[in-house]
Symmetry: C2
Subunit: 304 residues, 2 copies
């Protein structure tokens, strides 16, 4: 075996802030410029006029991502007034929600620490109440974003006055125009669909119920049965919310086995959007029965 030169993975964090502006292009351009100007790599901007909301996706080292979020707040708080905002998507702040996702060379604990660091700074700079959520939550009742946001911007003053909804950082009263914000840490989502060689929607729904967490299935799977009528087939449409603890191979094999019980075969599967490299190498290692395999055996990882 060769003795390889030492190497280190580049620490890489993804951040997907949701901003309550989906219509004014100049504001979106200013937000994008704030992110890239701070040294983060902007990967995607997805505005939605109906929701009056835009999802930015960017990535970088912890310091770059922190600077980008702070610059985004500076821009969005100046430009967005929630008192003038109406859209279909629930929201409570100008920058509504900021999740940090560990991608490479960083732990979830690093992302939790980053969420707290950024949350404290946002609160002290702007006087915005900040709630920590998901993996960064200070209590189990605050893990779920929907619970934090219930009541939305218009209900914030009343909500923040309740002792159980004191924010983690900042004042117990909303920012007049920018409301409040949820900042947290979570695993990357994988949007994963499995298409069945049948048009029986009842089978897709039964399989979805069998594999999803909410009805007795795998811990980090959300699933529903969907009719792909134009193709004459059905689909088990899933979100995998922690691919390390509930890996793709286990999900695929369980769906295939449940389908076989109805005499149905798996036609194909699909990943919608992006997938972390480690989720794919874990699937390869499982199916190939690879012993003692580590991601530092991937050639490209040597070059980071």
């Amino acid at each position: 075996m060769p003795v390889w030169y030492n190497w280190r993975l580049m620490a890489l964090i993804e951040c997907i802030p949701n901003v309550s502006e989906g219509r004014r292009q100049d504001v979106l351009d200013a937000c994008a410029a704030a992110i890239t100007g701070a040294g983060a790599r902007l990967l995607d901007v997805k505005p939605d006029a109906t929701h009056h909301r835009t999802v930015f996706t960017f990535a970088g080292s912890a310091p770059a991502v922190k600077s980008a979020v702070l610059a985004l707040f500076d821009t969005a708080v100046r430009a967005i007034d929630l008192r003038q905002h109406a859209g279909e998507h629930p929201r409570m702040g100008a920058v509504d929600v900021v999740p940090f996702v560990p991608i490479d060379g960083v732990t979830m604990a690093d992302c939790v620490a980053l969420a707290k660091d950024v949350g404290a700074e946002v609160a002290s700079r702007h006087g915005i109440p900040v709630f920590l959520y998901e993996e960064a939550a200070s209590a189990p009742s605050r893990r779920n974003l929907e619970d934090i946001r219930r009541g939305e911007f218009e209900g914030l003053a009343a909500k923040l006055s309740q002792p159980e909804w004191r924010p983690d950082f900042g004042p117990a009263a909303p920012h007049a125009s920018a409301g409040a914000c949820a900042i947290g840490a979570r695993m990357p989502l994988i949007a994963y669909n499995i298409n069945l060689a049948t048009d029986r929607l009842d089978v897709a729904k039964k399989i979805a119920a069998a594999v999803r967490h909410s009805s007795g299935g795998l811990r980090f799977v959300k699933a529903m049965g969907v009719d792909l009528a134009d193709r004459g087939i059905v689909q088990v449409s899933m979100n995998l919310t922690n691919h390390e603890k509930t890996p793709m191979s286990r999900v695929f094999e369980l769906v295939k086995r449940e389908a076989a019980r109805y005499g149905v075969a798996v036609l194909e599967s699909e990943i919608v959007g992006l997938v972390p490299a480690s989720a794919l190498s874990a699937a390869a290692a499982w199916y190939l029965q690879l012993e003692a395999f580590t991601d530092d055996q991937v050639l490209e990882n040597r070059l980071k």
Copy 2:
């Protein structure tokens, strides 16, 4: 589906020159400095005193890799005299063999063009005869490195005087001290072993014979049966010489099926050393039956 920002893969070529010096550390240090000084990323240096030979592994863009090879020749040709060289490994030159391997964002044709470019420059700078080999070979009889090198340094003058062994670049006579060189292009090798839940060496040998190219098996597989006596098991030990045309999933499934014919199960498999990311994502895609999957769906690839 989000509209993603444009991105390009970084063009990445691996180069694994074999140099006829495995004992003098100062010469090896000078070779390593020549490579890194030219802007390539040195990944590994593996000297062998018995062979009196060292394998350098480095990577970079085409211009960086070209500069590194030329700098390596400058250093090695000054420091190494084949007339004073004796080791166990066959050799014909101070820099004996230089393969270019496409890793990411480059084609085999790019690596063939690079081999020709570098070969012409080495010949004109140093007056060294250069043979193109493997994918860069100018004739089928020159694909195989062993055929080119047969006769070694000591037989070069006689060999080069034959019309069928005129070099592709440079004079039809050896460089007095630096001999000749083979420069070419090939796919990355994957060293892949499958361990069987049996101590029957005959089974491992029969499976190796069934799956390897030379005896009727898969086109890009070399294989032999090996006894792992200390563990009480046997192994099918393989080199996969083109993982795109003969993918890991097909090799694994064929070995597993052949083993079953003898009532033997696959215990585990192992990758020795490095593996390209695309070989793993292809295995994941095959087993998960992923439709329309491309490597640009891998999150990390967006960030290159």
